[in-house]
Symmetry: C2
DNA sequence: GCCGTTCTTGACTGATCGGTCATCCATGAA
DNA sequence: TTCATGGATGACCGATCAGTCAAGAACGGC
């Protein structure tokens, strides 16, 4: 009994995740999320409680981080929220464990790739090394 | 001729950098910067033009990134601004070059350290490995 | 039909945002 | 002593922020 939800939670959370990864957590406004998800503020708050709640939902969906987007969300979580948010920190820890021992280098590589910074010497470890 | 500056620009920029690294760029308000630097808004804007200008000044001071704080500022720059800000991207690139070929792993390691995420298995690669 | 429950809608709030500006003040030159 | 210059001050601005809520709508049960 009661009115059913008119949206697919997974689709909404994915749209939100796209926002968060695009410009970061703090720079994403609830109006942005409203626009991206198609939901109205009330529904968004009814379903997720807060901007942070929606972010946590998105983060929970990359417990097994696969693909760039998941890695980007992990970056945002680790840099913007984890240092001052225990719950986010725990979620990040879990995702990193799933990434294996080289989590930090995967994240570092993706960080610079996302920033479009060319600094990772692609196939040699020393600038000195010459390749034909 | 004219009134001399009453503040040391280096000190002000360092104080600002501390803010930015503490909570990130977007989450740092100009009021925070006013509080941390001791300057008034007008002076801050007179000297640096904008919040972004102050950030750029801070970033320029870690062209040779030494220490955690410089690395943290680099992280913030790379994640929050570089993807959509050409000038920041260039500055990050320069600093990364100074970091050498393992810039991405240094940043990745520091990212998780700062987030207080224990995921870098310190002296074994597999969780299976037992330690006495 | 009617009711209880849950979801939807969007107007609304007070707080805070980055940035501006008129006014005042300290200085060195004349 | 007067003046031009540029820094200091803090009140002020419109825009935007995250979050709330009263009203209406869609359902299942009866």
């Amino acid at each position: 009994m009661a009115r059913p939800r008119s949206f697919d939670e997974a689709v909404v959370v994915d749209a939100a995740a796209r926002c968060f990864t695009e410009v970061g957590y703090a720079a994403t406004s609830v109006d942005d999320l409203v626009g991206a998800t198609g939901l109205h503020r009330g529904s968004l708050y009814g379903a997720f409680g807060s901007k942070r709640g929606l972010f946590l939902a998105a983060l929970a969906r990359c417990a097994e981080p696969t693909g760039e987007r998941a890695l980007d969300l992990l970056l945002v979580a680790a840099l913007e929220l984890a240092p001052h948010d225990e719950e986010v920190r725990t979620a990040v820890e879990r995702s990193c464990a799933a990434l294996g021992g080289d989590a930090s280098s995967s994240l570092g590589r993706r960080l610079l790739e996302r920033a479009r910074v060319r600094s990772d010497v692609p196939d040699s470890h020393h600038p000195r090394t010459r390749r034909s």
